[in-house]
């Protein structure tokens, strides 16, 4: 089953996605990233943004994916709530759907600065994939 959650880090915040596939786990981790800033349910998936990244292993790919989203959030002043992710080998192609930040409606709490290698893990656990790392805020 797909799901996302936050996990504790003393200074910052951990994001964790779970899914039946690697791509689903990555999409859920991205939702956890949005949830650092605001409740994803408050973000209308109106505008698509295409994202591509490539990395030497799945863990670097997760960090790159989250950092690409952080970059798009920062430069477009957007939040995303829906993710379509495809992963083939060391390449990721995705569409993130969202809308511009509305400060009164989204009450954005804090901006993510970057995804880190801390508590970084991408692995299969039984029937599901897990993708996680700590995000510096």
């Amino acid at each position: 089953m797909s799901a996302w959650e936050h996990f504790e880090h003393e200074a910052d915040i951990g994001v964790r996605g779970r899914g039946a596939t690697l791509a689903e786990a990555f999409a859920q981790a991205a939702l956890a990233l949005t949830a650092i800033v605001t409740d994803p349910a408050l973000v209308a998936p109106r505008i698509p943004v295409a994202i591509r990244c490539e990395a030497p292993d799945p863990e670097f790919l997760l960090v790159d994916w989250l950092n690409a989203l952080i970059y798009e959030m920062a430069t477009r002043h957007m939040l995303f709530s829906c993710y379509e992710v495809r992963i083939e080998g060391d390449r990721l192609e995705a569409t993130a759907w969202g809308e511009p930040v509305d400060r009164s409606r989204h009450q954005p709490a804090v901006e993510p600065k970057g995804a880190t290698f801390t508590a970084l893990q991408v692995a299969r656990q039984g029937e599901e994939w897990i993708a996680q790392c700590v995000v510096d805020v």
């Binding site: 970059y71 400060r103 801390t118």
Partner: protein, 476 residues
Amino acid sequence: MDIKGFERLGPCHWRLAPRGAMRVPVEIFADETLLQAMDDKVREQAENVATLPGIVRASYAMPDAHWGYGFPIGGVAAFDPDEGGVVSAGGVGFDVSCGVRCLLTGLPVEAILAVQEPLAEALFAAIPAGVGSTGQIRLSDAEMDAMLRGGARWAVAQGYGEAADLERIEEHGCMAGADPKAVSTQAKKRQREEMGTLGSGNHYLEVQRVAELYDEATAAAFGLVRDQVVVSIHCGSRGLGHQIGTEYLKEMALAAKGYGIVLPDRELACAPITSPVGQRYLGAMRAAINCALANRQILTHLTRRVFAQFFPGLSLPLLYDVSHNTCKVETHEVDGRRRTLYVHRKGATRAFGPGHPELPEALRPVGQPVLIGGSMGTSSYVLVGTKESEALAFSSACHGAGRAMSRQQALKRWQGREVVESLARRGVIVRSPSFRGVAEEAPDAYKDVSAVVDAADRAGLARKVAKLVPLVCIKG
């Protein structure tokens, strides 16, 4: 933290002998309570730093040390390029040159209390703060490069602030050796709309009352007078620094193996100082330092404009500006000889003692002001660097309180609106675009900064001068 194995060198000074791959000992400055309260990860991360090539003397942790990325936050480590020493993007962190500056108003607290509410509103309107906020300044590509080379000196030349501010900033407002070419197009794009913005999270602008003086003579030299008001600004290099951190962290993590560096944690991403990537990172990181200095300089200008509306003719001179996520080239005495070292301070403040040639003439006899930010609604402190701090930890001190609980826990415990109202009852006006942000930054979500500052004082890293308490807090 399990303190077994630590040798106590003083009331607030602990040493852990090298073992395994550690090249030097770990030294932590804290009283026993603070040390025990530290996460085991601090010890693990400080031990990992001690394994890096070319590290000199020890891997240090300040009294506010907590679990960071690769390096502990509150970590200090110096590396010698002649001994294969490294520069680490992880040892500087994402928010390059995040720091604090303090402006003196010379106003008695009564003058502020008479305009507290409208002043808070005017500052909140003038200072871009929080997620999605943008500044008024748009830089062309050539202007961006000039800013990255010039720092606060560039900002002053553009009309933001006074030339007199520059000598009250580390590096006299301009970090030498910045290389805008080593900064990616993405990092520059991320900064394009963020010049003169405060950011979010634990960044703030506070109007504060000088509540207590611990050292009258030094306070006088700093221009701090009991029951007068100061303004403190805490922020960093914004999107540019974050993007530089992100990109070089990955590049160094991938490159380390090629340099024969074994990373016990990928986040310790580093490269030899003399390597091409090491040199490029230094150029980019120094550009990010200049970006942070320019940003705080612009925010200072905006603050002065607001104060001028209420108090025409008021100048708000700068007491000092410190950075706490940096790697700087400094000369220190090690085993009787002067050595040029690359000193990483990750969540730690440089704290030069009296007589240091870097200090402006007016401050040289007393030492460098060390500005320690508290959490929203609690105290901040001004300390002064000591002579003995150089031998203790390459002239370094703590930087703040550190979180006592996670953002998730804070959010479960407090409502932002209630936090704002409860602080208002205590005489602190908080203005923020986000109630959720306020809840996550609630005062009790942070450790007691007073205990941290007392430990730094007792350890001799820096000496307490004054305590500041907030009257107005603008939160990102």
